[in-house]
């Protein structure tokens, strides 16, 4: 069971990696705190491992619907001013951001 609880741990390195994927910065203290807290939540979830789920299909939509489609007709969109008014920074009718570098 100890091995199991190990596998449910999120290491501090994993926290740092996940934070980067999620575009968040965490301090070393936060890294430690999140590692402990998230491990504890995942540890609670270990209970699910007792279940045999091999032949169980996943459920992504609680209410099954298919083919929800709309007609290809233009309807009034947003006015540019209304949208750019709430932009953090706008210039030349566009959204301005600091330089976009290649993904790092």
């Amino acid at each position: 069971m100890n091995e199991n609880s190990d596998s449910a741990r999120i290491s501090e390195e994993a926290v740092a990696h996940v934070a980067h994927l999620a575009r968040l910065r965490v301090t070393p203290e936060e890294q430690k705190m999140f590692s402990q807290q998230l491990s504890s939540v995942l540890g609670y979830g270990k209970a699910m491992e007792a279940l045999n789920l091999d032949d169980v299909p996943p459920t992504s939509h609680p209410y099954p619907l298919n083919n929800v489609l709309r007609d290809d007709e233009i309807s009034a969109g947003s006015s540019r001013d209304e949208v750019l008014d709430v932009a953090p920074v706008a210039q030349d009718n566009q959204f301005r951001v600091p330089p976009v570098l290649e993904q790092t």
């Binding site: 990696h17 980067h20 994927l21 575009r23 992504s60 939509h61 099954p64 619907l65 298919n66 083919n67 929800v68 489609l69 709309r70 007609d71 290809d72 007709e73 233009i74 309807s75 969109g77 947003s78 540019r80 949208v83 750019l84 210039q91 030349d92 009718n93 566009q94 959204f95 301005r96 951001v97 600091p98 330089p99 976009v100 570098l101 290649e102 993904q103 790092t104």
Partner: protein
């Protein structure tokens, strides 16, 4: 021809290529919202809360985009399947939600093939729906992406429906890759799925390129992006394949990565390592439900499809085969002639003329040589009539060419056009006078011709044609020469 030589890989090596083609679908509105799908326009005018990914907004799938996707699938011999949408999660400022809604595990079309004009089949792994991103423009800082300055973002393109068509790694050369894209483009345009404008970005190609020694396992591939024309596709593939061969021959290894084609330098270069960024954390899009097109809808769409280029080529080839009696020119040249005629949308003209009894050889010859600029006002029956007259010897080849040009320019029937031209055809008397003058000017040559130097016949016919500006009938002239000699 220099390009051609550079393209060749060293003996024993081959390139293995798979292409990912993104085509913008010709819908009125975006894939998930009702703002217009139009190229260009003032920045941020084709937008709405959904395409901007504003908090609280939800996507609803455009029926016409699905229909176009099914058309694409059927045209590429795919299975049209129940499908789902997923979220592909990564951050990029031109992507409003910081995830792209795309079809991942269950694409709407899978397992098809495309037949090249050469007859080779290229596997189609999948052809799925997804949304396009906006566009960012870098401003200032010397215009280089790595330097300071800032970026401006226009979301007009965000949410435009795309179909992504992924080929199997069945292509083996840059020429084949170009042929594939040209054929695919022809199909997509024929079925009205896209306008196919590579220069406007409505058709975009990424190439997965690897090399191997013939007979070996597949090598490590690189994905090359930013290829904006057929020509640069060929150049990028050739460059990248040679780069990889050189690397391997020097004992190095190819790294799986995305590379950027620089058109000016003629080189690909590595984008910064994507380590950690390839984790797209796909999961089923909870805001959308599955697409399960029923058989009736699929068959309805199939029934409304126009005839595709491959089928049109087959029809033309078969008509050519059955109708042709002389001057066979099967093989490469014939295939390419057929492909050209279909690509020019002149196959209907060819088939019509052949079935109206025109000589196949003449049909092909005139279309290929004299109709490259289009058929103008030419109608099928006039074309057939003209060629029948030519075959019967009633008019000369050069007259036929002239009259054909008249029909393209003015339309009307062939008889009238031939009549109009006949009035300025030289009569027998005029020909005789001309010949007498020629004999007087070139008595030496005439003497040799009479003594049996046959090749000089061409000289006299040519001189008469020149003098009549091609109006003289070749056969009549030859006959006159023979009579005069006796």
């Amino acid at each position: 021809m220099a390009d051609r030589n550079i393209a060749l890989l060293p003996e024993g090596w081959e390139a293995v290529l798979g292409l990912e083609v993104h085509a913008e679908l010709l819908t009125e509105t975006k894939l998930f919202s009702a703002s217009p799908n139009r190229f260009g326009g003032d920045p941020n005018t084709h937008i709405d809360p959904v395409s901007l990914g504003l908090p609280g907004t939800l996507p609803v799938v455009n029926r016409h985009a699905v229909e176009l996707a099914i058309r694409v699938g059927l045209s590429l011999n795919c299975d049209v399947r129940p499908s789902t949408f997923a979220r592909k999660n990564y951050f990029y400022p031109d992507m409003p939600k910081n995830y792209q809604i795309s079809q991942y595990e269950d694409p709407i079309n899978a397992d098809g093939f495309l037949e090249l004009p050469s007859g080779k089949r290229i596997g189609i792994v999948r052809a799925h729906l997804e949304e396009d991103t906006g566009k960012s423009t870098h401003v200032g800082g010397g215009g280089r992406i790595h330097e300071a300055g800032f970026s401006l973002i226009d979301y007009n393109r965000a949410g435009v429906p795309l179909i992504e068509i992924v080929s199997a790694p069945d292509l083996r050369s840059s020429d084949e890759a170009k042929e594939y894209v040209a054929e695919l483009r022809a199909i997509l345009v024929t079925i009205g799925a896209t306008d196919g404008k590579m220069e406007e970005g409505s058709l975009r190609v990424d190439a997965n390129i690897s090399v191997r020694r013939v007979g070996d396992e597949l090598g490590v591939r690189c994905e090359v992006k930013n290829v904006n024309s057929l020509r640069s596709l060929g150049r990028a593939i050739d460059y990248e394949a040679r780069r990889q061969v050189k690397l391997l021959e020097e004992g190095g290894a190819v790294t799986q990565e995305t590379r950027h084609w620089n058109e000016d330098e003629g080189k690909t270069h590595s984008l910064r390592s994507k380590e950690g960024e390839t984790d797209y954390r796909y999961f089923l899009e909870p805001d959308l439900v599955p697409l399960v097109p029923d058989e009736r809808w699929i068959e309805e769409i199939r029934g409304a499809l126009p005839t595709l280029p491959a089928e049109r080529r087959r029809r033309l080839a078969s008509a050519r085969e059955t109708a042709s009696t002389k001057g066979e020119m099967y093989g490469e040249a014939d295939l390419s002639a057929i492909a050209t005629i279909v690509a020019r949308d002149q196959d209907e003209l060819a088939l019509g003329a052949i079935s109206a009894g025109a000589d196949t050889q003449l049909v092909f010859k005139h279309i290929l040589n004299n109709l490259a600029e289009g058929t103008g006002k030419l109608d099928i029956s006039a074309f057939a009539e003209l060629l029948t007259a030519e075959a019967a010897g009633n008019i000369s080849a050069s007259q036929a060419k002239t009259i054909l040009a008249d029909l393209v320019a003015n339309g009307g029937d062939a008889a009238a056009a031939m009549e109009a031209r006949a009035s300025d055809t030289t009569d027998a008397g005029e020909l005789e006078t001309l010949l007498e003058e020629l004999i007087a000017q070139h008595s030496d040559e005439w003497q040799r011709f009479c003594e049996g130097e046959q090749k000089l016949q061409g000289f006299f016919v040519g001189q008469i044609m020149k003098a009549t500006k091609g109006r003289a009938d070749g056969q009549a002239t030859a006959k006159l020469l023979a009579q005069r000699m006796m």
